[in-house]
């Protein structure tokens, strides 16, 4: 199979979808690789390096496209300067792997539905642990966050780190990062690395730990944070107004103090929320810098002009949309590696196929053999076993907005004793059970039937509750069930409670003895075990 790597035609784009390094990996997987002449020049990968890696170089773009089974590129196909459109250049049975943004580019999607073409949108790779190695949005966001700090440092007239010299001393720069997604966290890390003091904000309180682990201070709102989390549930409107107000108030206060603001607040597929208003810009110190990473989606700052630096009240408002392209060498390397990982997931050259059984492939395929396959069908219900929170590995959407944002419920499992749906069911059943217990005495239900009802309901509650127990605590679960099974001591008590010291009483006494061992032993050993479980540095 032949892979074609065309030169990016987007104005100002310096990246390329493959580097000599990733070309080597493709060849190792069994692919043939052709690279358009000069494709990597701006990313500091001259043609000779590609040749050395085993790729062939061609300057005929049209034949490159038409003779390749697979085209890997970065930006969505677009019209070329010679009048042709890249989507039309794709061979009839060819497969395109690139960013597509199908929501924003409906015409392009339509364009691709011709012949037997297949198009895979790298931006639609699902954000699951397994697919992290293919997730270009994360790897690019990381670069954007890094570069944003460097651009800001470039425009800022002062030191980032505090200085103490014979010529006087300066305070470290104060940086505010809004949105603690991948880009936000990278920005925090970079700014900290330069010596700045960083504070960060995110609507998801679960980010607090990550922010703090990067050495920044996490800003809390006066509105209780757990309420802010509920905004993803049913009470969005009433909550979000109050929350939004508190949020803006917080930013207004911060604007007066900080030198640099880096905003990364995005809602997937929607206009970015406006968080830095004109009066906040006016209140900032002259010479301050605002880096708006959401510029392409309309910007988090009112003064942002996409692609440009504007000066408003002496404050630089930067709306660069090509931050990753400003770091072309490594951005290409990461992007290329993401593509190689995807290709390997799809079977390499040997048995390359667009396998719809594979969740990653299913979700990212926009067109398959000329037929529209996007949007993908919704997820089936997840099995209950997987109910564990996995925040550590999934820093995803860059700050989903409080308003109307939906579908990011993770973090709930970290809430102490939160009444989740499972517990709610259990509690409801407990109430039903109680009602049966209380009414049964007067009801004409035979006693045994009533017992069976209680028993089955209790089994059901047990089933619900135990599935939510984290596997790490299965041993304490066993020992605590040992302890509560000790309730059989009740049977022993009834046996002993008589006037005579007969066989029944003695048997009852032995039952009490062993059951008490269970109660004391079970609870104590569980306590002992649970005390061992500690979080890091606690």
């Amino acid at each position: 199979m032949r892979i074609g790597i065309p030169k990016e035609v987007l104005n100002g784009e310096r990246r390329v979808a493959a580097t000599p390094d990733t070309v080597k990996k493709m060849i190792k997987m069994g692919f043939e690789v052709s690279v358009e002449a000069g494709a990597g020049a701006l990313a500091n990968y001259p043609d000779q390096m590609f040749t050395a890696a085993g790729a062939s170089i061609t300057s005929d773009v049209h034949s490159l496209w038409s003779s390749s089974d697979l085209i890997c590129k970065i930006n969505p196909p677009q019209a070329r300067s010679d009048g042709s459109h890249e989507a039309n250049l794709l061979a009839d049975r060819g497969t395109l792997i690139s960013l597509l943004f199908p929501e924003q580019n409906p015409e392009l999607v339509e364009h691709l539905q011709s012949g037997s073409k297949t198009a895979i949108a790298l931006d639609k790779i699902p954000r699951i642990t397994r697919a992290q190695k293919m997730d270009v949005l994360s790897s690019m966001a990381n670069i954007a966050g890094y570069r944003a700090v460097l651009e800001a440092a470039h425009l800022y007239g002062g030191f980032f780190g505090g200085q103490i010299t014979a010529a006087g001393k300066t305070r470290p720069a104060q940086v505010l990062v809004i949105g603690a997604g991948v880009a936000g966290l990278a920005a925090i890390g970079t700014a900290r690395g330069l010596g700045a003091e960083v504070r960060a904000f995110d609507v998801r309180p679960a980010c607090k730990e990550q922010v703090e682990s990067m050495g920044a201070r996490f800003l809390m709102l006066d509105v209780p944070m757990d309420e802010s989390q509920e905004s993803s549930g049913g009470y969005a409107n009433i909550m979000s107004d109050e929350f939004l107000k508190a949020e803006l108030e917080c930013f207004a206060n911060q604007a007066k103090e900080v030198d640099i603001i880096i905003t990364t607040a995005l809602i997937p597929g929607r206009k970015a929320p406006e968080l830095i208003l004109q009066d906040m810009i006016d209140s900032m110190k002259p010479g301050s810098v605002i880096m708006d990473l959401a510029a392409e989606q309309g910007g988090n700052c009112t003064a942002t002009v996409p692609g440009q630096v504007v000066v408003s009240s002496g404050v630089h408002v930067v709306g660069y949309t090509d931050l990753t392209s400003r770091l072309p060498t490594h951005a290409s390397q990461f992007f290329g590696t993401n593509i190689v990982n995807l290709l390997s997931d799809m079977g390499g050259a040997g048995d390359f196929k667009v396998d719809f059984e594979d969740e990653v492939v299913r979700k990212s395929t926009v067109v398959r053999q000329g037929t529209l396959t996007w949007p993908p069908p919704p997820d089936p219900e997840k099995p209950p076993v997987m109910s564990q929170g996995k925040q550590d590995s999934e820093v995803v959407a860059d700050l989903p907005q409080t308003k109307k944002s939906s579908g990011h419920g993770h973090g709930a499992s970290n809430e102490p004793m939160a009444i989740g749906p499972r517990n709610a069911i259990a509690l409801t059943l407990a109430v039903v059970l109680a009602l049966i217990g209380f009414t049964a005495e007067s009801a004409p239900v035979p006693h045994f039937v009533q017992q069976v009802t209680v028993f089955l309901l209790a089994c059901f509650i047990g089933w619900q509750v135990v599935w939510s127990v984290t596997p790490a605590l299965h041993t304490p679960l066993m020992s605590v069930t040992n302890a509560i099974s000790g309730i059989i001591v009740v049977g022993g008590l009834l046996g002993v409670a008589g006037t005579e010291l007969n066989t029944a009483a003695v048997l009852g006494a032995v039952a009490i003895l062993v059951a008490s061992i269970n109660i004391a032993g079970g609870f104590l050993v569980t306590q002992r075990m649970l005390q061992m479980f500690r979080k890091e540095d606690n």
Binding site: L473, P476, M478, A483, T499, T503, A504, A520, M529, M532
Partner: protein, 544 residues
């Protein structure tokens, strides 16, 4: 009115205790709430016991108060205290590596208690009342049977886990009697068969008691009539004496008939049932191999719940019923998870005799060919120094070598150097569900870097170095590729996808399941032979 409210208090308390028990299990859903959950359980237990004692001393719905002799009070309190002390000492002293044994022992206690409560309930039943109901008698029968199986089964599991059975044989090797399935079936059928004379005897005794009650009424009627006769002739006096004697005789007979006795044939059958089910429990568990002990212990956990629930049925005690059901389902879920992690059905575990029915266990599976690369401490230290991301896969062997503290020290040092160290736990690592997590927690490993197999498997390809300490079958690639392997289909941690793997192992032998491991022959695998504890302490020393 007042009486009614007294009667209601224990009921409300039982309800509260049941809810607290549910919350105590619910609290275990994560580490932060777990301790609070345990306290809920403890409070629930105190409430339940308090309520039961209240139930014993206050008048019942009919206004009669139970009389409890001071001897019995003494017995009750002493046994409870002694049991409490024994339990506390055991809980305090037990080593975390010995948790499976303790859990198994505690299961056996629940089973034993269920047997004793069952027999005691039968003995104290009022046969003239509802004590001879068919349902009630069968509840006792079933409760005793399941209790006895749990009791002896857990004792055998406990002994196997301690490595006590059969001297020097491989710990926990299954003992298979010829025709064991037939023996189990015969035992089960006999248990069902013996229920018939047991029930009919008890019922006929109860009928006798009821008949005697009727006779008593007639006899009392005679006495009354005679006493009301006007003149007291000598003859009459004799008649009255005779009639009174008759009444006394019948009263004595009722006393005997309405109280089940240890001399009766029904009791004999109940004892035979106890004995037979005890043997059945031994036989069932003794035939199960050591590798399956986590499943067996989970299964016995479930049984202990059902035993408690059956005690709830026979005593008509809803709290016991609810608790038993909770515990029973919990054990069932754990067994299911364990079986799933080994890709086996529960029937296969219970009746399978893993890796033994087909003969020599090590003989199965494709022969592996290739070279094993043996490495030394220096090279491993070098690998660890250069790695950005390290995964540690611990197995029970780590705990046996008591290396977990050193492993924690090692991982802590690497983490300080900025290396991303994480632990990968297979569901069946250790001898109990979640056992490995407890051992690591004891050694001081923070729980947030200890991940389950499903959480971490996707990260294997990006891992620079995997250290496999005392684990074998759970990292066996043969489970995915070799269809003839006895563990084929079992989900495993895909360590071979990492850059380099290092296996710390005493020698090049097979794992607990007796299966050879192709991982050892992979190009990117290194073997570090020797005692895990020694190796780890040398490694730690090299890194400082």
């Amino acid at each position: 009115m007042q009486l009614q409210s007294f009667v209601a208090i224990p009921n409300v308390a039982y309800l509260g205790a049941a809810i607290l028990f549910i919350l105590s299990l619910g609290g275990l859903s994560n580490q932060e709430t777990a301790r609070r959950g345990n306290s809920y359980g403890l409070v629930g237990m105190v409430i339940a016991i308090g309520a039961t004692i209240l139930l014993l001393v206050v008048p019942d719905a009919y206004g009669t108060t139970r009389v409890i002799s001071s001897e019995n009070w003494t017995l009750l309190i002493t046994t409870a205290l002694v049991g409490g002390v024994i339990g506390s000492v055991m809980a305090k002293r037990v080593a975390m590596t010995a948790m499976p044994q303790l859990v198994a022992l505690l299961h056996s206690f629940v089973g034993l208690a269920a047997v004793l409560v069952g027999i005691s309930t039968w003995l104290t039943a009022d046969l003239a009342g509802h004590g001879s109901d068919l349902v009630h008698l069968l509840e006792i029968w079933f409760g005793v049977a399941i209790g006895a199986i749990t009791f002896t089964g857990s004792i055998v599991a406990w002994a196997k886990l301690r490595g006590w059975l059969f001297g020097k044989r491989v710990p926990g090797a299954p003992l298979l009697l010829p025709g064991r399935h037939g023996l189990n079936a015969i035992a089960a059928l006999t248990c069902i068969g013996m229920a018939v004379p047991y029930v009919s005897d008890t019922v006929s005794q109860a009928e006798t008691a009821i008949e005697l009650e009727e006779q008593l009424q007639t006899a009392e009627g005679v006495v009354e009539r005679l006493e009301n006769e006007p003149a007291g002739t000598r003859l009459m006096q004799d008649e009255i004496k005779k009639a009174v004697a008759e009444v006394e005789r019948i009263e004595a007979a009722i006393q005997v008939a309405s109280q089940p006795s240890t001399d009766s044939r029904a009791f004999l059958f109940l004892m035979m049932l106890t004995g037979l089910t005890c043997l059945l429990g031994v036989h069932l568990v003794i035939a199960i191999g050591g590798a399956d002990m986590p499943v067996v212990v989970s299964l016995l956990n479930s049984y202990s719940g059902w035993a408690a629930a059956s005690a709830g049925f026979m005593l008509a005690n809803d709290l016991l019923l609810v608790t038993g059901a909770l515990v029973g389902s919990s054990g069932a879920i754990l067994s299911y998870i364990m079986c799933k992690a080994m890709n086996r059905s529960i029937w296969n575990v219970v009746f399978g005799g893993f890796g033994t029915d087909g003969g020599n266990p090590t003989g199965e599976g494709t022969e592996i060919e290739g070279e094993v690369t043996v490495t030394d401490i220096e090279e491993v230290a070098q690998l660890a120094r250069n790695a950005k991301s390290i995964m540690i896969v611990p197995g029970y062997g780590m705990a046996v070598a008591r290396a977990q503290h050193l492993v924690n020290e090692f991982s802590g040092m690497l983490r300080k150097r900025g290396c991303n160290v994480r632990y990968a736990i297979h569901p069946v690592a250790g001898r109990l569900p979640g056992h490995m997590n407890v051992l690591l927690a004891e050694a001081g490993v923070p729980y947030d870097i200890v991940l389950e197999m499903d959480e971490i498997n996707g990260d294997c390809p990006e891992t620079d170095l995997v250290l496999i300490i005392g684990a074998n079958d759970v990292v066996n690639p043969g489970a995915e590729t070799d269809e003839s392997s006895p563990i084929y289909g079992m989900p495993v941690i895909q360590v071979w996808k990492a850059e380099t793997t290092v296996v710390l192992k005493r020698s090049l032998g097979a794992g607990y399941a007796g299966v050879g491991n192709p991982l050892f022959f992979k190009e990117n695998n290194r073997m570090l032979l020797g005692d895990a504890k020694d190796s780890m302490s040398q490694l730690t020393a090299l890194l400082t």
